[in-house]
């Protein structure tokens, strides 16, 4: 039985904020394959290319046939929980603060025996379980044993919640409420149980379409925030920076231009000013304080979400300058991810294909609805993944890009 999460009490401002600690993060290079898959929400193990033997722990050569070619392959993860323990005493500082901690020993049907974090919904050993991979607070892939089916309050499991960024009872800043995407994200967060949603709007003297509906939501507070204005970002961070658990940067400028279709750099500069420098300004003002709150009680700072674009991976020439600004933002997000890691705050990048909005008017379907994008974003928070590529177009681009970036470049510029 998982006790349902209860709304955390307001924090006593006099109490010291505990400094964030991380679980052991050191890994061999081979083991980082588990992390790479977990970042996408997948459970993969090395499989021998020659004899098909599934390997664990990660290694350099097949323990059956000594082949040096091991490939990471998605696993069903079904197996037998053969033994369990609850750790009450740990030498590790992170776990010392979190004991008792449940662990399981699982024999996968695919072969290997795994040590895994144990979800509270699992039946006592021996029982059937499903192994999933998650990123822990250090951003490294770890294994979790789940019950085979759904159990009540599954997401509220205390150990699981250390590895996810579920918005339930959390306070969120959505940086731009003017766009359809921004509004869909706000609604999805509230549906997911977010306690409080601050919504930025760059031009507070204007009432944008959907403003009244947003304002009517009891969880929502609209606040002025202009990502092109360092002072505006700094001011808002001063007001609410110490309370934001999840920051979702939905602000973007998107114009459909390549290089020759327009003269001058003003439009490109406007895109960069929001899409790249806006992220930089936000990261400088909100990043350090969120990082310091990575272990601030049950609803600590937990995630930072960037709305990027699948065009960040490879330039889409009809939207060439937009693509470039998103590529710049993607690169900066990797720096942000590294800098947020000591606080255990996850940086999630969302790479949608074309969104069904006015700037993609000329693109043929399928296009991603703002609601579908918002749903994928909330799911990414709940699953605690780092990279999400919502929609068919994004998935197809991703597959092509993974197979051959050069081929993709030629394909999209035909």
């Amino acid at each position: 039985m998982i006790p349902p999460l209860v709304r955390p009490k307001p924090k006593n401002p006099i109490l010291r904020t505990r400094l964030p600690l991380l679980p052991p993060w050191a890994r061999s290079r081979a083991a980082l394959g588990l992390t790479a898959a977990a970042a996408l929400g997948r459970f993969e193990l090395q499989v021998c290319a020659d004899c098909g033997t599934v390997q664990y722990p990660p290694r350099e050569a097949c323990h059956r046939c000594l082949s040096g070619t091991l490939r990471w392959r998605e696993q069903a993860g079904i197996g037998e929980l053969i033994s369990t323990t609850t750790v009450y005493h740990s030498q590790d500082s992170f776990f010392r603060e979190r004991v008792p901690w449940h662990l399981g020993l699982v024999r996968l049907d695919a072969g290997p025996t795994l040590v895994a974090h144990l979800h509270g919904g699992c039946a006592p050993a021996p029982s059937r379980v499903r192994i999933g991979a998650r990123l822990d607070k250090s951003g490294q892939g770890v294994l979790l044993a789940f019950p085979l089916g759904e159990v009540p309050h599954m997401a509220d499991d205390r150990q699981l919640r250390e590895m996810t960024c579920d918005p339930k009872f959390r306070k969120v800043l959505v940086t731009d409420g003017k766009t359809q995407v921004g509004q869909a994200v706000v609604r999805a967060l509230i549906a997911a149980g977010a306690d409080w949603v601050w919504v930025g709007h760059a031009e507070p003297w204007k009432k944008f379409a959907g403003f009244a509906e947003l304002e009517a939501l009891p969880q929502v507070t609209l606040l002025p925030l202009d990502l092109t204005d360092s002072g505006s970002v700094k001011q808002l961070a001063g007001e609410i920076g110490g309370k934001v658990d999840i920051l979702i940067n939905t602000a973007e400028v998107h114009r459909a231009h390549g290089i020759a279709s327009r003269s001058g750099v003003e439009v490109a500069r406007a895109e960069m000013d929001v899409n790249y420098f806006g992220l930089l300004r936000l990261a400088q003002e909100f990043g350090p304080v969120m990082r310091a709150r990575g272990a601030d009680g049950p609803s600590s700072a937990t995630a930072w979400v960037n709305l990027l674009s699948i065009y960040a991976l490879s330039n889409y020439p009809p939207h060439g300058t937009f693509s470039a600004s998103k590529a710049a933002a993607f690169s900066l997000s990797q720096c942000l991810r590294a800098e947020m890691r000591p606080g255990g705050v996850r940086v999630i990048n969302v790479f949608p294909g074309p969104i069904d909005d006015e700037w993609n008017q000329l693109l043929p379907p399928p296009k991603l609805t703002p609601e579908a994008l918002a749903k994928a974003l909330v799911k990414a928070l709940r699953d605690g993944v780092e990279d999400v590529y919502p929609g068919d177009v994004a998935q197809e681009w991703l597959t092509r890009w993974q197979e051959s970036p050069k081929t993709l470049e030629r394909e999209v510029s035909l």
Binding site: P23, P24, W25, A26, R27, S28, A30, A31, Y56, P57, P58, H63, E80, I82, S83, T84, T85, T86, V87, Y88, H89, S90, Q91, D92, F94, F95, R98, V99, W101, L103, L105, R107, T113, L114, V115, A116, H117, A125, D136, S138, Q140, V142
Partner: protein, 393 residues
């Protein structure tokens, strides 16, 4: 020369001068200091001089960046045979086997076998994350903070499969503590009651405090030389009837309920020309009591799964029906890193040479010392054992 299978016997080589550098919980000395003290005691105990020792086998985890070679210069010894065996709980048996053959082959005349490690206040914690690649990648991130959780899995599984109770394991721990009360170098000097054992604080369910060894600093050692040499020097000696060693046995078992002894026991007893029932005492590798039980099963004292019945039918003190860990074992003496792999061997040599520090097992002729160790992921990879005998056995 007698052989069993293709294995030559050890009848012309013997073990002398069992020594212990008394254990301390923490030391500001490095492992080198403990190695030096062990060697010094070996020389004093045997009456030999440094130049007489022409072989060194060293088991130690915490010499880095040194290995055994650095110690030759550090200690000012010149040897013609050198071995470094950082195999934890198996290093004593492995060192013994190699040294016996070296002396037998004439590659060395006197080999000093030493297991030594220091323990600084924070060194146990620091050593956990760097113990093995697999532990760093696949155990340490799960918060167990060492082997406690791994052995909690085994203990819990064993209890479920074979009906062992906490009282069964407690009986072993209580008896070993009783043995330790007669041994001056044991870290634990207070009697342990079954109630204290059962009510101790939880470490990793079902393992509680007295199921765990206490990391400490210390050293153990002995000398290997020819029987002729030992007799010429007038040194009491123990003989080696048979040994075995196995690494990564049964890799496909889902969980470790047996060790390599199962593969080797026939060879072990056949080589010694004895049956398990001939053995007068056993020094198990008792990093956790469940491992003692598994070793007793795998080494033929009872069948697999009959451990609980065996425990209930025997007493384990030095004067009991089945003496084990006669100086108290690691559970009561302490675990001084690689010295733990020597503890049982050194105690066995003492029992068989009448150089007892602990209470003696009455009229002990044959003893069995067991090695087990290197939990690089979910199980101990090394297993070994040696049947030792009194000079006339």
């Amino acid at each position: 020369m007698i052989t069993h299978g293709n294995t030559r016997d050890y009848l012309d080589v013997v073990l002398v001068a069992p020594v212990t550098v008394p254990y301390v919980r923490y030391s500001i000395r490095n492992s080198h200091w403990f190695v030096a003290q062990a060697l010094s005691r070996l020389l004093k105990s045997s009456g030999l001089e440094k130049p007489d020792v022409d072989g060194l086998s060293l088991g130690s985890f915490m010499l880095a960046p040194d290995t055994a070679i650095g110690l030759t210069q550090h200690l000012g010894i010149t040897v013609r045979w050198l071995d470094h065996v950082p195999l934890g709980g198996a290093c004593g048996i492995v060192a013994l086997r190699r040294a016996l053959r070296a002396v037998q082959a004439g590659d060395a005349e006197v080999v000093a076998c030493i297991g030594a490690d220091t323990n600084h206040v924070d060194s146990f914690r620091q050593s956990l994350g760097s113990f093995s690649v697999f532990a760093r990648d696949a155990v340490f991130p799960y918060g167990s903070g060492g082997p406690n959780a791994s052995f909690a899995f085994l203990t819990s599984y064993y209890m479920r499969m074979y009906g062992a109770t906490r009282e069964d394991f407690g009986k072993i721990c209580v008896a070993q503590r009783d043995n330790a009360l007669g041994y001056p170098h044991a870290m634990f000097k207070k009697k342990l009651t079954l109630e204290e054992y059962l009510d101790a604080r939880l470490i990793a369910d079902p393992i509680r405090l007295f199921d765990c060894v206490m990391p400490c600093a210390g050293a153990e050692g002995f000398l290997v030389m020819t029987r002729q040499r030992a007799e010429a020097l007038g040194l009491p000696y123990a003989i080696v009837r048979s040994t075995c060693e196995r690494h990564n046995a049964f890799p496909d078992d889902p969980i470790q309920m047996r060790g390599g002894w199962v593969l080797d026991r026939e060879h072990l007893y056949g080589g010694a020309g004895v049956e398990p029932s001939d053995i007068d005492f056993v020094q198990t590798y008792d990093d956790y009591p469940v491992m003692s039980v598994i070793q007793l099963e795998d080494l033929g004292f009872c069948a697999k799964g009959e451990g609980p019945e065996f425990i209930r039918g025997h007493s384990f003190t030095t004067d009991g029906s089945f003496p084990i860990n006669t100086s108290g074992g690691q559970l009561s003496v302490g675990q001084a890193g690689c010295a733990a792999g020597f503890l049982g061997l050194v105690e066995a040599i003492r029992q068989l040479t009448g150089r007892n520090l602990a209470r003696s097992v009455p009229d002990a002729r044959l003893g069995l010392a067991v090695g087990f160790g290197m939990i690089t992921y979910d199980r101990g990879l090394c297993s070994g054992a040696a049947v030792l005998g009194r000079a006339d056995a």
